[in-house]
């Protein structure tokens, strides 16, 4: 709230400068967001108030906080204030039909008021905090709101019909015209609490008065409303109709019923002083019994246990007293116990720990010492945490940029990445700004990143991200899973991009799981989002669970992101990748004797995959074979359109001696035979 520096000083025995007020308030939990000087020369502070301290949305309470810390006294109530004089018979009846929403409603009638401008002192206070003075009645209610934190309202009595005020729920679609320039009629909900006369709503309870019952310059008799409303009810109505007011702001944080009468007396006295008139018929009130003040116990030993410093009992007692908690010291086994009586306005003080916080707050957090040494319990290493870091570092070291993208995505790309029977999760908020879906895959996000960078002129990039994905599985349960997504802009050479991707995954799986990567065509033919012919399932050797998928994104999907280039992608579930980290590795002694190599070029049909060639060779189990590597693929007119020549390299080695050339010939012959038989391969160039 915006607070006037002079206004706060009105309640202090010794004034404090703006600087001191700001420092003290900050130190006790009310930081200053902004400060300045109003046009009339009055200094102001924008004081931030936490949601539990609705009682501090007024000048008197801020003065109390300053007094508690600085040893000043608070001047309240003002010595001149006498209870307003009451005359004559009651002029209105109050019926509260919703005491759960309105624990206390009070009405006071003043007749014979003269509406006019407020005096200079009042205008000055209001202008200091940016409020525009209207007339003496409105300004008086405003003044009490900013002085005591109690919102009130003044009705023009002549405009209230039937001599009766009802606190009731609105009727469905009941019309109501709120106060305020440019306000338009609204249709109320049956869940809105209203203040009504015998015929119609005259105020939206705790939120806004009605235009039709507002005071004007011609007003001579008024009804003064002072009440308290349920915070949730006020908040719900305020949000529903998008009407916020200084009143609703305070009621949402809670206004104590026990404080209502004093505030109403203050307001009536002020109106009688500023506008004249006569208070008639006492107070018309209806509601629940006013709760008696709460009493709490505070163990002084507990204060020291929580805060960790030796605060003497005397100091605790002093702080409690300054906060108007009226401490009574009692001795008990285990130390001193303070019995305190909580002022009704302090709705936040309900438990012992709340009092400990008060002691801590006023004693000052700067008084808590800093230790250079910490007591710790040693924690072990966490392989899974280490594994995720290594995964990220490993991928980045292979030329990939790490992205961090939003988990919510738009509808265009979202559903392309679901399998049969699966569906998307969506958030229920129009504030998601057109991206309401929890992404089922990291790939659409990576695709968008590639597209954005391509738009900025950057091509041939590779990105990865480690994050959660979300989907509803075919069995109806939802799944959140952390995954690694990789995407490479395939540019002019998608084959090279794919091999780069594959190489990155190979190395990642070797690094984290100590295993070889197994790649097979996807079981059901298609990875969602990928070309059917370029959809792969990936797994690690020796594990039953699949790791994920890889492939080339379908051009239709790539185009949806505004790209016109092939994109190679992979998506790996984090859990099975890191589950066995660090892998146990059996040491293989580096070979001591030279090996011998043979390159073979085998001509096969175009559709023959490398994996078929590879398994044909491996399953022959050639003697002394150390390794088998892919070298290159060659296509040319001499082979025809549907054939290709694949060059592979065999390396042979004996662990205990140098192999003679003729010793490997039987193995090479066996491989040649296997290739001929298993993949109909012809050896080119005589092997």
């Amino acid at each position: 709230m915006k607070a006037g520096v002079s206004w706060i000083n009105d309640y202090l025995d010794r004034p404090a400068t703006a600087e001191e007020q700001g420092e003290v308030l900050t130190a006790v939990g009310f930081p200053i967001d902004d400060e300045g000087v109003a046009e009339n020369g009055e200094a102001w502070l924008e004081v931030e108030t936490t949601s539990n301290r609705g009682d501090c949305l007024c000048h008197l309470s801020l003065a109390r906080e300053i007094a508690a810390v600085t040893g000043r006294s608070v001047n309240w109530p003002p010595a001149a204030a006498a209870p307003p004089r009451v005359e004559g018979a009651g002029a209105i009846e109050v019926v509260n039909q919703a005491p759960d929403r309105c624990p206390l409603y009070t009405g006071r009638v003043i007749e014979g008021v003269r509406v006019g401008p407020s005096p200079e002192w009042l205008r000055r206070r209001l202008e200091a905090i940016g409020q525009i003075p209207r007339n003496n009645l409105v300004d008086a209610t405003n003044f009490v709101l900013w002085e005591l934190g109690q919102p009130t309202h003044v009705f023009d009595l002549a405009k209230l019909r039937g001599g009766r005020i009802e606190v009731r729920m609105a009727r469905p679609d009941e019309p109501f015209l709120p106060l305020g320039e440019g306000a338009t009629p609204i249709a109320l909900s049956a869940d809105d609490l209203v203040i009504a006369d015998a015929e119609r709503p005259v105020a939206l309870a705790g939120v806004k008065g009605g235009a039709e019952s507002a005071v004007t310059n011609a007003t001579t008799a008024i009804l003064v409303e002072a009440a308290t409303f349920d915070p949730v009810s006020v908040r719900t109505t305020s949000r529903r109709h998008a009407i916020r007011s200084d009143s609703s702001h305070r009621f949402e944080r809670g206004v104590a019923a026990a404080e209502v009468a004093a505030a109403a007396d203050r307001l009536v006295a002020l109106i009688l002083e500023l506008a004249g008139g006569t208070l008639r018929g006492g107070v018309a009130a209806d509601g629940l019994p006013i709760p008696s003040p709460r009493t709490l116990s505070l163990r002084s030993s507990r204060v020291r246990e929580v805060i960790g410093i030796e605060i003497p009992d005397g100091r605790i007692e002093e702080i409690l007293a300054k906060l108007d908690l009226k401490p009574r010291r009692e001795s008990a086994t285990g130390g001193t116990v303070f019995r305190v009586s909580v002022p009704p306005r302090r709705l936040d003080l309900e438990r012992e720990i709340d009092l400990i916080e008060e002691v801590c707050r006023i004693h000052g957090l700067d008084a808590i010492p800093l230790r250079e040494r910490l007591e710790i319990r040693p924690a072990g290493t966490q392989p899974r945490v280490e594994a995720v870091r290594i995964a990220r570092d490993t991928i980045a070291s292979m030329g990939f940029l790490e992205s961090v993208t939003h988990s919510l995505i738009g509808p265009r790309l979202a559903s392309s990445f679901l399998a049969e029977g699966e569906s998307l999760l969506a958030v229920d908020d129009d504030r998601a700004g057109g991206t309401p879906f929890l992404r089922p895959s990291l790939l659409p996000s990576l695709l968008e990143v590639l597209a954005r960078n391509e738009g900025a002129g950057a091509r041939d990039l590779a990105f990865f991200e480690v994050a959660a994905t979300f989907r509803v599985l075919a069995d109806g349960t939802h799944r959140e899973r952390r995954e690694i997504g990789l995407a490479i802009d395939g540019g002019e050479d998608p084959q090279a991009a794919y091999r780069r991707l594959r190489g990155a995954i190979d190395r990642l799986v070797e690094r984290l799981a100590g295993a070889r990567l197994l790649v097979e065509p996807a079981e059901d033919g298609t990875v969602p989002g990928c070309f059917p012919a370029a959809s792969l399932a990936i797994a690690r050797e020796g594990a039953s669970r699949p790791l994920g998928t890889a492939g080339l994104l379908d051009a239709k999907i790539v185009a949806l992101a505004g790209l016109d280039r092939p994109v190679a992608v992979a998506e790996i579930a984090l859990e099975p990748l890191i589950a066995d980290y660090p892998p146990l590795r059996a040491i293989v002694e580096p070979p001591q004797f030279p090996g011998t190599e043979r390159d073979l070029s085998v001509v096969v049909e175009e559709k023959t995959p490398w994996s078929a060639i590879e398994s044909a060779v491996r399953e022959t189990t050639p003697a002394h074979l150390e390794s088998l590597d892919f070298v290159t693929t060659w296509r040319g007119k001499s082979l025809g359109n549907d054939r290709k020549s694949v060059t592979l390299r065999l390396r042979f080695r004996h662990p205990e001696r140098t192999l003679r050339s003729e010793e490997v010939e039987p193995s090479v012959a066996a491989v040649v035979a296997a290739l001929r038989e298993r993949v109909a391969g012809e050896i080119r160039g005589g092997g």
């Binding site: 800093l370 924690a379 570092d393 790490e402 961090v404």
Partner: protein, 331 residues
């Protein structure tokens, strides 16, 4: 005689030193050590010597020979290492662009933070981003009618899954999960994404990262809390770092405080609001079945984006999520 040998040795050595390339070195070798070289010629001195002189002369001749041979080898090695570099090398050319990848500044910052807390005995704990109301609100002492639960302030699931699940608004949810699964004492940090439906601008994004710490033990106090935060600040920002706390309010801690740290902002040390902290509220302990009279604890939460932005002088949070390669490569 001995004088003759001495002057020869000096002469040969100086000629060797003058050899500047392989050709002159070879010429020297032929002239001195070759079969018709000068050293061979000096062997004739033996014939002229008396039998008594011969043994000493022989030793002397051998010594000179060995010395010159060693000097020759040394000179040869010297010359070969001082060889001209291969032609076409220009060592002033710039380095090759290896197109190396880069970690994202946010995840790299997270790793560093986790590392520092690890050294202070905090283990990493984890939890889902799609949470239930118990872990996101109820167990954290946020009652059903609390404004923090308003649908407009949270990403609740819509459609058929509506109602009870939402994207977590704070990593404090992981505190609850950790206390549910691990009996005290425990010290954990949780890091991750959290979500709040803010409109995106320079300082707001509807997704951001938090690191949350929780310690539960016997006898923990606010002194431990403040000292732990100081330990982190010094380890993370440097020994000049400082910490201060200001009273605040969070439903799940009491007493609660805002944390400021004095950290380097583009090279100068400044106070920066960095997060919130407090002693675990007894109501939170009760919700997970821990006796608050026996155990006490503290918790803190720091904003990763805020730390990152202030450290690097970044003015617009959206840059962190655009993933422009020209931005990402700067870290």
């Amino acid at each position: 005689m001995s004088t003759e040998l001495d002057s020869y040795e000096t002469d040969a050595a100086s000629q060797l030193a003058a050899c500047g390339d392989a050709a002159s070195l070879e010429a020297w070798r032929i002239a001195h050590l070759g079969t018709k070289g000068r050293l061979k010629g000096l062997m004739s001195l033996m014939k002229d010597a008396t039998p008594a002189e011969r043994p000493a002369l022989g030793q002397r001749l051998n010594a000179v020979k060995q010395k010159l041979e060693a000097a020759f080898e040394a000179r040869k090695a010297e010359l070969s290492s001082a060889r001209e570099a291969p032609r076409g090398i220009d060592l002033t050319e710039p380095g090759l662009d290896l197109a190396s990848g880069r970690r994202h500044v946010l995840t790299a910052t997270v790793d560093r933070i986790v590392e520092v807390f690890g050294r202070m005995g905090f283990e990493v704990a984890d939890g889902p981003e799609l949470e239930d109301e118990w872990h996101n609100f109820t167990a954290l002492n946020i009652p059903p009618e609390h404004p923090a639960r308003d649908r407009g302030d949270n990403f609740f699931l819509g459609g058929e899954a509506a109602g009870k699940l939402l994207l977590r608004t704070q990593t404090s949810t992981v505190q609850i999960r950790a206390m549910e699964s691990t009996p005290p004492p425990l010290r954990v940090v949780a890091v991750g994404r959290v979500y709040r439906p803010d409109d995106h601008d320079a300082t707001h994004y509807s997704m951001f990262h938090q690191v949350e710490g929780l310690a539960v033990d016997r006898g923990l106090t606010m002194v431990d809390l403040k000292s732990t935060l100081l330990g982190f600040a010094k380890a993370f920002f440097g020994p000049e770092a400082e910490v201060r706390m200001r009273p605040s309010f969070f439903p799940f801690t009491e007493p609660s405080a805002e944390v400021d740290m004095r950290m380097p902002v583009k090279g100068t040390w400044q106070w920066v609001e960095i997060g919130g902290c407090g002693m675990v509220d007894p109501a939170v302990f009760e919700s997970v079945g821990i006796d608050p009279e026996v155990w006490s604890g503290f918790a803190f939460g720091l904003g990763i984006e805020r730390v990152t932005m202030r450290r690097h002088g970044l003015g617009d949070i959206r840059r962190l999520f655009e993933n422009d390669a020209r931005f990402l490569r700067q870290f």
